[in-house]
Symmetry: C2
Subunit: 161 residues, 2 copies
């Protein structure tokens, strides 16, 4: 995947987390997820379908400490467990990240529309993308732990440029 197509996802994710939750995140090097591994990298996740330029989806998956800190920062309350409210927040975050990333991608001439977030919870839960294709993982580090973005698109043109 060409770096100019990955950058919009990185920029969008950092912007949403910093704007909405005042949480700084540092991206590490993106990598391809092993083909037979459909397991989420975090314990709470949300995936959203994208269509247009190509078909695919993006997902965000948080470690427990990280999402509890993000939720607490966003709403000023102290969250201590992965309840329904926290699940909703993860859905809302992937919706916002998708909006920001699509705005950046549109500047490069790639137009996508988005579905509605689907959320998952639980240690080692499955992560269901919308197409069968290689998954690119972007790990992010925050002061409260890790989270991950996954991008999965069926178009070689979009992925490989």
């Amino acid at each position: 995947m060409k770096v100019e197509y990955i950058n919009p996802f990185i920029l969008a994710t950092r912007k949403v987390l910093s704007t909405m939750a005042f949480v700084d995140s540092k991206p590490s090097k993106p990598y391809l997820k092993p083909e037979d591994n459909q397991q989420a990298l975090g314990v709470i996740s949300a995936v959203i379908e994208l269509s247009g330029e190509s078909k695919g989806s993006i997902a965000v998956s948080f470690s427990k400490n990280c999402i509890l800190d993000v939720a607490s920062q966003m709403f000023g309350d102290q969250y201590t467990e992965l309840n329904e409210e926290v699940i909703d927040i993860v859905g809302e975050l992937v919706n916002m990240i998708s909006g920001e990333a699509r705005r950046e991608l549109a500047k490069l001439g790639f137009h996508f529309s988005a579905g509605i977030p689907i959320t998952f919870k639980g240690e080692g839960h499955e992560m269901k993308h919308f197409v069968q294709a290689r998954i690119i993982v972007i790990p992010f580090e925050t002061k409260s732990g890790q989270y991950f973005i996954e991008a999965c698109f069926d178009s070689k043109k979009f992925l490989e440029g």
Copy 2:
């Protein structure tokens, strides 16, 4: 427009404003915008294209006091003017409202995907929807003033049930 199709927009809007900005809003009776009137009802607005069940768009338009209060509540800073940051917030709000409303509409069997927000600013600015159709306005009252949701869809089936 059947009340069961308007309700998801009302519920979504109230939920987003109360969750994200701790702002309660009271909806008034929806009405049809006069056909020759393309003027926004507030001074800062964002519109987002929806497609799927039918083609159309929803928009949100805020009075100045109302959006400054919403922005201040969301971020803890005191906003006093309609700067770039506030414009971004309006775009983000319509993205979140669209996500919530589409989630509710999906429960009724209506599936929509969403584009990216387009923002407008200025007294009496034009409000550009994505299809030529009658526009339904839902006014909301908050302690800091009014804002408005507009919904504009080209399908009689979706609008009239």
